[in-house]
Point group: C2
């Protein structure tokens, strides 16, 4: 049993749980975000989800094919919230910057959920909507399609990759964070200048800079690079398109 999952649109009978609530995919996703925030990125379990919803853990399987399926739904929710909190102005650079920061912020608003989902492609509607939007902005600049696609690729992967990385730091439990910071104090800050001259010389700058995300900086690099391509389409061939570029040929499945 419990093998067939009825898609959300086709649901009709809504039977309340023992606790009295009427379930839905939406309920599960929202409960999952709460559980994740409370119990950490590894603390999302069917049992806890059941408790949070006042339902039996196995009820999950009436709505999702498994924990993995639920995970993808959570990712799509975060992506959708990013797009909801964004509006087009018509200026490609402003729009792309705002959208990138919105994606990054949306994931970081739920760090534990972000860790779980940011490196996965859901293929769900709200993720596709973001892809369509980014491609639209880039093609609207007048970039040729191959160039627009290359830039889209760099933009979306960079946004998700940094969302995942930065979320990892925020998602640490208090205890793990204490250990992390203790490690920083006990190792990096104490390295002798003799063996590690460069770290020792910049320890102050490192301590100030490292607790922040590098995403805004690299996003600006991408925008600058794209702007330069628009101004001088031929003079500065894109790094991504240079056939001499090393290491570009290995395959990623996605």
């Amino acid at each position: 049993m419990a093998k067939q999952v009825v898609p959300e649109g086709a649901r009709r009978r809504r039977r309340p749980t023992q606790g009295g609530t009427v379930l839905s995919e939406e309920h599960f996703v929202r409960a999952a975000l709460r559980v994740l925030r409370e119990h950490g990125s590894t603390g999302l379990t069917a049992r806890r989800l059941g408790t949070a919803l006042g339902a039996d853990p196995s009820t999950l399987y009436r709505y999702f094919a498994g924990m993995d399926d639920l995970t993808r739904a959570i990712g799509d929710e975060l992506m959708g919230r990013a797009l909801d909190g964004w509006e087009a102005t018509g200026d490609w650079r402003v729009d792309l910057r705002a959208l990138g920061l919105a994606i990054h912020a949306s994931y970081l608003a739920h760090p534990q959920a972000a860790v779980l989902t940011a490196s996965r492609v859901s293929g769900r509607p709200r993720e596709i909507a973001v892809d369509e939007t980014v491609l639209g902005i880039l093609r609207g600049t007048g970039l040729a399609d191959p160039e627009a696609v290359r830039t889209y690729h760099a933009f979306i992967d960079q946004s998700l990759a940094f969302a995942a990385l930065d979320a990892g730091s925020l998602a640490l439990t208090d205890q793990a964070r204490a250990e992390d910071e203790a490690m920083w104090q006990s190792t990096y800050a104490r390295l002798p200048a003799a063996s590690h001259p460069h770290i020792a010389a910049t320890a102050g700058h490192l301590a100030r800079r490292m607790p922040h995300s590098a995403y805004p900086a690299v996003l600006e690099m991408l925008l600058e690079h794209t702007a330069a391509r628009l101004e001088h389409p031929r003079e500065r061939p894109s790094a991504a398109s240079s056939p001499a570029e090393p290491g570009a040929s290995f395959t990623r499945r996605r």
Copy 2:
């Protein structure tokens, strides 16, 4: 019991397991890489590790504080291998490019292990060695310390973030990969031009570009940006240093 872990350097008595092998941290890390490759990024368990080493699962706790501690050791191993396969030429741009690609390649050589470790800071010696090396290259260009640290930050986070993201695609099991590709076919490729004109118009380019990593392209952007800063230190203030830059202020713990 099993609470005190003797550090590797202090070990003296080496008692063989029932299988006859003599254990060490190194043995555990290598066995973990094998288990991960064979059973996927979620397939690393104490029991399997025991089987792989011909030892009891609980033996792990004589060498590591827990699975988490082992995970950090695995990450440090990957970082160390990256540095081992790299040599300085004295040309900062060549060296930084080679080191970035070496880190990326080292993680992608063990995708399942990379998924587990790439977004974590180990604080172990070989990771610190990479940090020292990168800072040395950048300070050697003549960049001022704050600028060198900013660039180091962007470089190392970008490298790790893309390592994690790209590894995620490579680490999928055959079945999960089949599902992923089926999804690509069943959704993106079939989106009607009416609702998703930009995806529809670029479907061919997307299919060609997306299976590759965007890391080499964004690495070139960073190198280009840094070169421009060296040529015109005042004319083009770094995006990362611009006080007007939006969204740069939220905190990451690291």
